[in-house]
Subunit: 256 residues, 2 copies
Amino acid sequence: HIYAITPTYSRPAQKAELTRLSHLFMLLPNLHWIIVEDSNITTPLVRSLLQRAGLEKRSTQLNIKTPPEFKLQGKDPNWIKPRGVEQRNLALAWLRTHVDVDRHAIVFFMDDDNSYSTELFVEMTKIKPGHVGVWPVGLVGGLMVERPILNEDNTQVVGFNAAWRPERPFPIDMAAFAISMDLFIKNPQAVFSYEVQRGYQESEILRHLTTRQQLQPLANSCRDVLVWHTRTEKTKLTSEDALQRQGKRSDSGIEV
Amino acid sequence: HIYAITPTYSRPAQKAELTRLSHLFMLLPNLHWIIVEDSNITTPLVRSLLQRAGLEKRSTQLNIKTPPEFKLQGKDPNWIKPRGVEQRNLALAWLRTHVDVDRHAIVFFMDDDNSYSTELFVEMTKIKPGHVGVWPVGLVGGLMVERPILNEDNTQVVGFNAAWRPERPFPIDMAAFAISMDLFIKNPQAVFSYEVQRGYQESEILRHLTTRQQLQPLANSCRDVLVWHTRTEKTKLTSEDALQRQGKRSDSGIEV
Ligand SMILES: O=c1ccn([C@@H]2O[C@H](COP(=O)(O)OP(=O)(O)O)[C@@H](O)[C@H]2O)c(=O)[nH]1
Ligand SMILES: O=c1ccn([C@@H]2O[C@H](COP(=O)(O)OP(=O)(O)O)[C@@H](O)[C@H]2O)c(=O)[nH]1
Ligand SMILES: [Mn+2]
Ligand SMILES: [Mn+2]
């Protein structure tokens, strides 16, 4: 069983993103989707999306709002503050109390705007109890691909090719790894934190759970790219804004 | 049967886009994918993607390069020249010669970066021979949603809510309609053209095939949004460019 944890927040493209992400869950019966809304309520938008995708029994809808002091403001560049901290921690708390400890399961942090291949989830099922699996991620860190460097017989991670902050303990993206659930039970102190430098969320969670030496390389000895850190353009709503100044809108009574 | 025509071109996020799009085809057995590469060859990237998705028998891989005078240059804004003209026309030519004329089929123009709900394809199967089905599109034309306006009993399209160039004969996006195949057989002159104003590709093809009055409204009387005109951010490759100036690259021997 694989638990995918997705923080998500309201914006024009939210439903589009979650819709294309839901196709993975429709294709892969061993996936359970924990959607955590950055919101004071669980929304009908997410609820009905899960319903229409037939995922009611294979999903959990949670919510927790990012405190305003940590939320991006107007023109803040998006890297100024960590995103999804609160939401991922709530999902981890939920897992720690709701999951059968004796059953092997995998935890994966899945952002709502990345692109994932179905084959990535086949790789994850190879993660052994007590281990963290790792693989390359496309289009991230200013590179075509960020990836673990392996030893000669491809059994161990001996380094990383990251160009951005390579001095981090684990210089990899959130999409580059998945974790055997038992590690979260054995290490209750493993949580995300606002108190770390930019780019250190991955290192923060992993330092409690594993070492570089214990990482389990996957995806054809880290030579296949099965996930991409795509980002969606901010929607231009010039005409919509003009409409709204006249008290009108294009989507009244319509969920976009 | 539904034929989806997708023009596509090489760029860092191409494989990511086609991968998430392929999930729709994996989910919907009545879809046939005509991918037309904007390239002098059919590429191994697209070929192996179709193979790995198990779509060999439900796809057709074509190629035709956009002539350089019509290709976007460096910092051209993306709306300056039409995209996909050559590629969509090649797919139409292929359909006109390869498809069984006596079997009802639907043709849909599916860009590689939009987001589609599986429910959209269920709607398309309702299109009657001789007709063009229409529905709303999210996040396009500067609006949250562009959509057809219907008469009182919801049987006919009487207008459109487009804010951008509303004077167009059909002021709708390429994702807003699908066409009964017989119309392309009966109207061999229906093709896309470079000789039309910006925003007039949809009107150019539709004026040969239908009238506003004959359009068949779908998607819950045009109140459901089942497709979104999302656009993916251009990938920032600062570190990759620096590597390449040293004669290195992050993806040598790796397809991203
Ligand atoms: O205010 C926010 C901003 C982002 N996110 C979620 O956190 C994850 C990472 O955010 P984003 O994709 O914007 O980060 P980046 O692409 O810059 O890594 C995504 O699933 C978002 O939906 C969130 O819950 N609240
Ligand atoms: O030089 C190009 C540019 C675009 N396209 C394809 O044409 C379609 C429409 O292009 P795009 O998504 O960039 O247009 P927009 O989002 O601006 O409508 C997409 O399937 C692209 O992959 C292409 O074949 N060659
Ligand atoms: Mn993202
Ligand atoms: Mn597009």
